[in-house]
């Protein structure tokens, strides 16, 4: 009898899992596996994957890295050990994404804190406001942002009126960073807000009671306790930023290249699917390792305090 109930129960669980599992397998696991397979294929004359199997796509990436130590002072000290087209691309992508994540965090934290301290009714309204951008297509919003920063766009018109020299940042890494911060802000605010909303404010009183000033209360008590939201928000910002394409394309105006844009090019203009797939796989592995290390560091820090 009990056996039967157990069996029925596990059947039920299987049944409940089926739609999700099916979806993930068909639309996530199989395509990913397919990309992996393509990355080991050669290209035909049109750029599509074809036999025979080869390691050459990865070989190109490895051969790209050259040991070439150099120190330059071109607009700031730059020390580098290695050189390489794709290495540079990857490095720039990681760096811009890192800066983006930090800036997004610095903007999102006060906003999330402010929202979490509002009365219940206002919190709902604020959440709604944060989510409003999702109702408009991302591409359209990025074009709007592009328009804002144009030479004769609204920002420069205002600056001009104030007698301030115009901003000429369009098609620079700064513009790309602004675009990425703008696009990812809600993904940082929402998990942070969720963490902060659950935060027990008595904790800060307890810290203060035990002699901690505002600064130490924040770093020793609040930050570790909202850590999960902070980690989630950072990952949700960093990972899409590394592989971002539309923002780089538009805000960079074709002058700024990042790894995501380069991969896209392999599937279109450069017509080399297998090489594009190999780049995707390498990027995925690197980002995964970075995310895991980040999570580890976050957890380690929390255990240490």
């Amino acid at each position: 009898m009990i056996q039967q109930i157990r069996e029925r129960k596990s059947l039920q669980i299987l049944g409940l899992m089926f739609p999700g599992a099916f979806w993930l397998i068909v639309f996530f696991a199989i395509p990913l596996l397919w990309v992996l397979v393509i990355s080991f294929l050669s290209r035909d004359d049109l750029g599509f994957p074809a036999q025979p199997f080869t390691l050459d796509n990865y070989g190109t990436l490895v051969r790209d890295i050259k040991f070439n130590p150099s120190i330059t002072f071109d607009g700031g000290l730059e020390i580098r050990l290695f050189d390489g087209l794709y290495l540079d691309l990857l490095w720039r992508s990681l760096w811009i994404s890192f800066v983006t994540t930090i800036i997004t965090l610095l903007i999102a934290f006060p906003v999330a804190l402010f929202m979490a301290r509002l009365p219940k009714r206002w919190r709902t309204i604020m959440l709604f406001l944060v989510m409003i951008p999702f109702w408009t297509n991302f591409l359209v919003r990025t074009y709007a942002l592009l328009f804002m920063f144009r030479g004769n766009g609204p920002i420069n018109v205002v600056l001009n009126g104030l007698g301030v020299p115009p901003l000429d940042i369009l098609f620079t890494p700064t513009a790309v960073t602004i675009g990425l911060v703008y696009g990812n802000l809600p993904f940082m605010i929402l998990p942070l807000y969720t963490s902060l909303e659950k935060f027990d404010w008595t904790m800060l009183e307890a810290a203060s009671d035990l002699g901690a000033n505002t600064f130490r209360s924040f770093f020793r008590v609040m930050l570790p306790l909202v850590g999960p939201g902070l980690l989630a928000g950072s990952i949700l910002t960093f990972v899409p930023a590394v592989g971002s394409y539309i923002t780089v394309e538009l805000m960079g105006g074709g002058k700024i290249n990042m790894i995501g844009r380069s991969i896209a090019a392999q599937f279109s203009d450069a017509a080399n699917w297998p090489f594009g797939s190999a780049m995707s796989m390498v990027l995925m592995v690197i980002v995964t390792i970075a995310a895991v290390l980040y999570f580890r560091a976050g957890r380690g820090e929390r255990a240490a305090v």
């Binding site: 904790m203 009183e205 307890a206 009671d209 002699g211 000033n213 305090v305």
Partner: protein, 362 residues
């Protein structure tokens, strides 16, 4: 060192239009176990929070050890708090929680280790130092909260409803333990409670709060036996009120005529005047039920309305005219005879001694 650990002088705290604490003055002696008692919203917690430094008075002064702490932030005050929810840091072990305060004061690491050990011994939890708060029972968490506060050797320990979250049995145990602990460490304890029994059993003195004001400050004996107003008499323990008009005052005693024709005599407590309205307050255990009319004052024939047998005593509700009164008879005889007790519907005589009743001005 000041005679008083904490003094509140005409302290007022308003949140917008709401006055939470209204011109409160009291002085808490060194090493005293002091209770702030009252129903919710009476201003007792706000008073505690002003001593802790979480709130700042909108009027008056708060003194700790004789010094005005008006502008001193909480983290610079030599007082520590045991929070109602304990507010233990969930990301830290017991040991880390307890050492937090010492770390903030930059106590050398060796001393921290030693003092944390002593504090955990004091609350009898040394074996749980490496646990996280979530892995502990409510009672254990409470001990950690105590250790975390006491390890700092504060001038005053503040406890906000410290036993509120514990079950009844544990609460009784902790009452005794807190009292013992306070004697051991020799620190002034100020605790907030809405439980009058807790306040009576634990404290040296009690302040009774109502609607932002302090109505009476006194020892448990004074508060119970000589409440200075109707609210205090009603809030602390059980009591019967008989409303009437004062017909005569004779030294310490006054006669109050109840329901137009029933004179009762009681001890004058407060500003009682002939001809004014007054209330006789008499506790149920100080009344007696008799079968025959006694030759004593304050004796009236009543009808037994209902009986409640609670083992140690029998709680009888009697009717005097339209008024219902509680009379508690101690069961000093061991009997199985149901006829030994009064029965509902029967007549009886109720009486109490004038010195056991209070006449309170309305």
């Amino acid at each position: 060192m000041s005679d008083f650990a904490v003094e509140m002088r005409n302290v007022t705290k308003a949140f917008g239009d709401v006055v939470a604490v209204d011109n409160v003055s009291m002085a808490i002696k060194q090493k005293e176990f002091f209770a702030m008692l009252g129903p919710s919203g009476c201003g007792k917690t706000t008073s505690l929070r002003m001593i802790a430094g979480f709130e700042h008075p909108t009027g008056g002064e708060v003194l700790i050890d004789g010094k005005d702490v008006g502008s001193t932030p909480a983290f610079q005050r030599n007082v520590n708090t045991v929070f109602q929810s304990y507010a233990l840091f969930p990301h830290m072990t017991v040991e880390q929680n307890v050492s937090f305060g010492l770390e903030m004061k930059r106590v050398p690491a060796n001393d921290i280790k030693q003092r944390v050990g002593q504090a955990l011994d004091l609350v009898r939890l040394p074996q749980l130092a490496k646990r996280f708060p979530k892995q502990m029972s409510g009672g254990q968490q409470q001990r950690v909260a105590l250790a975390r506060a006491l390890v700092n050797r504060p001038k005053v320990l503040l406890l906000d409803e410290p036993l509120g979250a514990l079950d009844a049995k544990l609460r009784k145990e902790m009452q005794i333990e807190l009292k013992t602990l306070q004697r051991e460490v020799g620190i002034t304890f100020i605790f907030v409670t809405h439980d009058q029994e807790e306040a009576l059993t634990m404290s040296d003195r009690i302040a009774v709060f109502s609607k932002g004001k302090v109505l009476q400050v006194g020892t448990p004996l004074e508060i119970y036996e000589r409440p200075n107003c109707r609210f205090v008499a009603d809030f602390i323990g059980e009591t019967n009120f008989l409303d009437g008009k004062v017909s005569a005052i004779n030294g310490e005693f006054a006669t109050v005529v109840v329901a137009g024709d029933k004179p009762f005599v009681g001890r004058v407590n407060g500003d009682v005047r002939v001809g004014a309205d007054a209330t006789i307050s008499v506790r149920p255990e100080k009344m007696q039920l008799l079968e025959k009319q006694p030759a004593a004052p304050n004796a009236y024939e009543v009808r037994v309305h209902s009986i409640g047998y609670v083992g140690s005593d029998t709680r009888v509700i009697v009717e005097l005219g339209t008024a219902r009164l509680d009379v508690w008879e101690q069961n000093s005889v061991s009997t199985l005879d149901p006829n030994y007790f009064f029965r509902a519907g029967e007549p009886a005589w109720m009486t109490f001694k004038p010195e056991n009743a209070l006449v309170l001005a309305n």
